[in-house]
Assembly symmetry: C2
Homo-oligomer: 419 residues x 2
């Protein structure tokens, strides 16, 4: 594959995009359901291709976390198929009229959702992204170029085969879902420079990948850097609620971006809460790194550094800090946060309002776990990523975030400067 | 002024932004009205400063069009003050809850508008942008760095003085509206690289400026390239309506981006419409460049080239092409258009629907002039620019387009994986 091939692939996607945009709602849903059915029918082939990827990654000495993300079995493949069916069942967004207004001169002004065009999805390891990103792009009337990680190339090629077959069955140009399995990183660079062909690049993966994409892109990028998520336990918090949010946030799935990385505790509740919390964390194998006031309750705890407060551990490690008040908690989040998810446990509505007003992260949770910052949990059906950038989309991005509102104006011959 | 000064200015804007975001609706409106009042009160000083800019630009040999954009008189200053008052009177967008949903687990999920943060506005000549961009950014709770063209530096400094005085009177940090009047282009480069300080750059001006900004920016950019706007006269068009749309679109203000640059005429209506249209255009001093079939009606007309069809003339020049049908018109627009504004004159609802569905420009007008693609005309109050990029905002951008929706979630201790 050459740079020229990547260019041709992207141009073919662009040429095919209007066919996808023109589908009506039922045809679009049927197409996505047909991809799910194809994935189920080709399950053994996909799992066999994935086994080759896993074997190669194992030989290459990849770590357990990557192997886990890479691995596909029957259960995971079924989960992907169901996720596609959920995307198919979501309301149609293409052509949706979001606002209507009649101007004093009689002009009818509508805002209508249309697709963005061609999306370049650049991601790592997880082969489920290949199917889910394709489904979300088709749902929103976009064409997509999928460039997954080289470690998943056989799995991605097998999944792409199912997508292509379903596109052909529906009489649609398969080029609307382009797949690059060639591991050469130059292809990513080529894609990122195709300013009049690619409308948006979405990198999804580790910080290295995201920095690489945003440094080299000439096309617009929606980034999701890091989730340094905070739980602030207010003076008025219910201890059981605070403990539940802490344990769910830190231990239910520590490797994900919406896990809690830092606990901030109001000084007034620290004597009641911290002994409970530190014991529960210890029992669940969580390593705590704390400020000096935290260490008053657990002298064996390691002293937290500024690096710890800035860290996205993605592991059973937690930074803890006792703060003087809510404003100190907000100042800490402003300094160390990553605009992802912040949580307050509180029994005080005024404190809740001040916390919500005082942070500008993509999601702010009052007495709810950080783990709910997820497209499915927030009602979007599925997500193509979580934006931590305050532009176009902020937080989980579903099909709607892959559209833009344009103006459709109808009149009866109105002019601005009558002769 | 050094790169370090620009960096400090931007960081001061960032530090000041929460004070602007925290204003309530009435205080925000009063602030913007106070700026309008200050502009009126300082009118003579601003006009004197502007006279210096105009004199220098004249000495430098600037063209009439630039001098016209640069020039401020009492009437234009009053128009700016009124535009600010209109912005003040618009509904408050900061904190607006756009959607509410209760999830099956009882979580209350809201989408709430918050400011983008710090906007870098990079523009040319027109000093009105200094006041209007500042007002729109304040309206949306953002801080802004205004970097106007060097030709308007005295005018911009005088206007900035009024803004600063009103900010001080309101007890707000004037740093929230930073102004760079130093003409060194290096400052623009510095601004465009401040990734963790500047959230968005908006270039507004000629194509050279916009290319410069988008080529050098490391911060996100919303571009407005060109307006190659089309009027398609369908077979079923009312001749009077079509003629009114043509003359308003081409001649009411030819130097603006929402002026018509190319006329496409269905072959079936060409014999009735073109003689009328060509005579009216000729009477108004419009130079026509036409296809061979156009020239059948006016042999003296110059043959249109592909460059003519791609041109944003911004002048009393019009490219004309007779097309076989609506699909040919859409294919022409797809090839030569700039995603700005497309107009159909038609008496046929099916043709109108097909035209709307077949183009993806920021605004599509059915029997209405292209000149209505304007923030004020479409009900946004005022505009900071017109995006031709399908990301974040498409078409005129008002205060709402300078915000983003975040998620605010309230619960009673819900967790995702109960213990």
């Amino acid at each position: 594959m050459s740079a020229c091939d990547v260019d041709l692939l992207a141009r073919a996607a662009r040429a095919a995009q209007p066919s996808v945009a023109a589908l009506d709602g039922p045809a679009r849903s049927n197409l996505i359901r047909a991809i799910a059915a194809r994935l189920r029918a080709s399950g053994p082939d996909i799992i066999a291709a994935n086994a080759e990827d896993v074997a190669r990654a194992t030989d290459d000495g990849c770590g357990a976390a990557l192997l886990d993300r890479l691995n596909l079995d029957g259960g995971r493949l079924e989960a992907i198929a169901r996720s596609l069916e959920q995307i198919a069942a979501q309301p149609e967004v293409v052509g949706q009229v979001t606002r209507r207004e009649v101007r004093p001169n009689g002009l009818r002004v509508e805002r209508q959702r249309i697709p963005l065009g061609v999306i370049a999805m650049i991601y790592e390891a997880r082969p489920n992204v290949t199917a889910e990103a394709a489904a979300l792009c088709l749902k929103s009337g976009n064409a997509v170029i999928l460039r997954g990680g080289s470690e998943a190339r056989k799995s991605n090629a097998a999944i792409a085969g199912s997508i292509e077959a379903a596109m052909r069955d529906a009489g649609l140009p398969p080029a609307a879902v382009g797949v690059i399995t060639d591991p050469d990183r130059e292809h990513v660079l080529t894609l990122l420079k195709l300013e009049n062909v690619v409308d948006l690049a979405i990198p999804r993966g580790g910080e290295g990948l995201i920095r690489f994409v945003s440094e080299h892109a000439r096309v617009p990028v929606i980034k999701h850097y890091r989730g340094v998520c905070h739980l602030y336990v207010d003076a008025s918090a219910d201890l059981d609620v605070a403990l539940a949010l802490l344990l769910d946030g830190k231990t239910s799935r520590p490797s994900v971006c919406n896990a809690i990385e830092t606990l901030l505790v109001h000084a007034a509740i620290a004597p009641a809460f911290l002994p409970l919390a530190l014991a529960a964390l210890h029992a669940r194998g969580v390593e705590v790194r704390g400020c000096s006031r935290t260490r008053d309750y657990a002298p064996a705890v390691k002293e937290a550094t500024a690096d710890d407060y800035a860290a996205e551990f993605l592991d059973l490690i937690l930074a803890v800090r006792v703060v003087a008040d809510l404003d100190s908690a907000l100042a800490h989040i402003e300094r160390f946060g990553s605009n992802h998810t912040e949580v307050i446990a509180t029994g005080d509505e005024v404190a809740a309002s001040r916390f919500v007003a005082g942070t500008h992260s993509a999601a702010v949770m009052v007495n709810a776990s950080s783990r709910f910052n997820d497209g499915g949990e927030l009602g979007l059906g599925a997500e193509i990523g979580i934006s931590t950038m305050r532009l176009h989309a902020y937080g989980p991005m579903g099909a709607e975030s892959l559209t833009i509102e344009r103006f459709v104006v109808s009149g009866s011959g109105q002019v601005r400067s009558p002769l």
